[in-house]
């Protein structure tokens, strides 16, 4: 079974903006403290990290772009897409949005 990372349970129910300097619970903070370490573990084990988006009050575009686009800028879009899976039952369209941020990050 793939490892799972729930943003609401393991980070915050009220995600903020892009950078730490802009707000609390920023995309930058999420990427550095939660997403990146778990992503690297998944890469090491050759598995996929399943990120669950449900349970929060909503996401700013800046938060998602900085978290997932930022990861792709550091490790490449291909690698990010290969080792990350997105689950969102509340907002199904967010998966497409995030794939777009990851794909465009290297463009």
């Amino acid at each position: 079974m793939n490892p799972t990372l729930s943003i609401a349970k393991e980070f915050s129910r009220t995600p903020g903006s892009r950078y730490r300097t802009e707000s609390t619970f920023s995309g930058e903070e999420f990427r550095e403290t939660c997403l990146k370490p778990r992503f690297l573990q998944a890469v090491e084990k050759g598995t996929k990290l399943t990120v669950v988006l449900d349970g929060t009050s909503g996401y700013a575009t800046s938060f998602l772009e900085e978290a997932f686009g930022g990861l792709a800028r550091e490790y490449g879009s291909e690698k990010a897409l290969k080792h990350i899976d997105i689950i969102s039952t509340e907002e199904k369209y967010l998966k497409d949005d995030i794939v777009e941020y990851i794909t465009k990050a290297n463009a």
Partner: protein
């Protein structure tokens, strides 16, 4: 409802029958006045089979008419409900976005929360439109969600290479006049798209 529809159909059939008979009699009288002559006796020979056949035909006609009327009525109700949902959603969406634009402080978390609820609501309506095979060929249907996403971007995103003066500090975003104008422009476009979808649902 069903009884009323069936009753209506029967009543219309009866009126049609009476009118048809009267018109037929009028036609015979008119033709007589123009010099046409009819045989003084009409011989009626109807076999029991023909009576049964006639009865079945009349019953079938009434049944098919009532079924078709019911289906048309149900389709109309579904369309009216969806159109009403779309109009209510549009009013709420426009009102909430204007409220955000005119508030002194715009908290990113609050805006994200409001837009999450609105985007889910819109997608639920669109799912219903698709489920009932209404407006599936209407391109505006898919564009609606993109407009909400555009507004979400304009209200909650400051790109890394942003140079338009928009800043976020303390979790609050300060929008430039240019950004606010862009939001209003997207709202106009959104209104137009809702109109197109409503028209497509109505036509389908």
């Amino acid at each position: 409802m069903r009884k009323i529809l069936l009753g209506d159909t029967f009543f219309h059939g009866l009126v049609g029958f009476v009118l048809g008979t009267l018109l037929g009699m009028l036609l015979i009288v008119s033709l007589g006045m123009w010099g046409f002559k009819f045989a003084p006796e009409i011989i009626l020979e109807i076999s029991p089979l023909e009576i049964v056949s006639l009865g079945i035909t009349v019953l079938l006609a009434l049944y098919v008419t009532s079924k078709l009327t019911k289906k048309t009525e149900e389709d109309r109700i579904e369309k009216d409900l969806l159109i009403s949902d779309l109009k209510e959603f549009k009013a709420e969406f426009v009102s909430k976005v204007h409220k955000i634009l005119h508030s002194k402080t715009i908290k990113v978390v609050e805006v994200s929360s409001t837009l999450k609820v609105l985007r889910i609501a819109l997608n639920t309506i669109i799912e219903l439109v698709d489920k009932h095979n209404l407006a599936q060929t209407c391109a505006a249907r898919a564009e609606l969600d993109k407009r909400i996403r555009d507004i979400n971007d304009l209200l909650t995103d400051v790109p890394q290479d942003a140079h338009d003066g928009t800043v976020i500090s303390g979790g609050e975003i300060s929008l430039t006049a240019e950004r606010k104008d862009k939001v209003v422009a997207v709202l106009y476009d959104f209104n137009k798209l809702v109109f197109e979808v409503v028209a497509a649902v109505n036509r389908s």
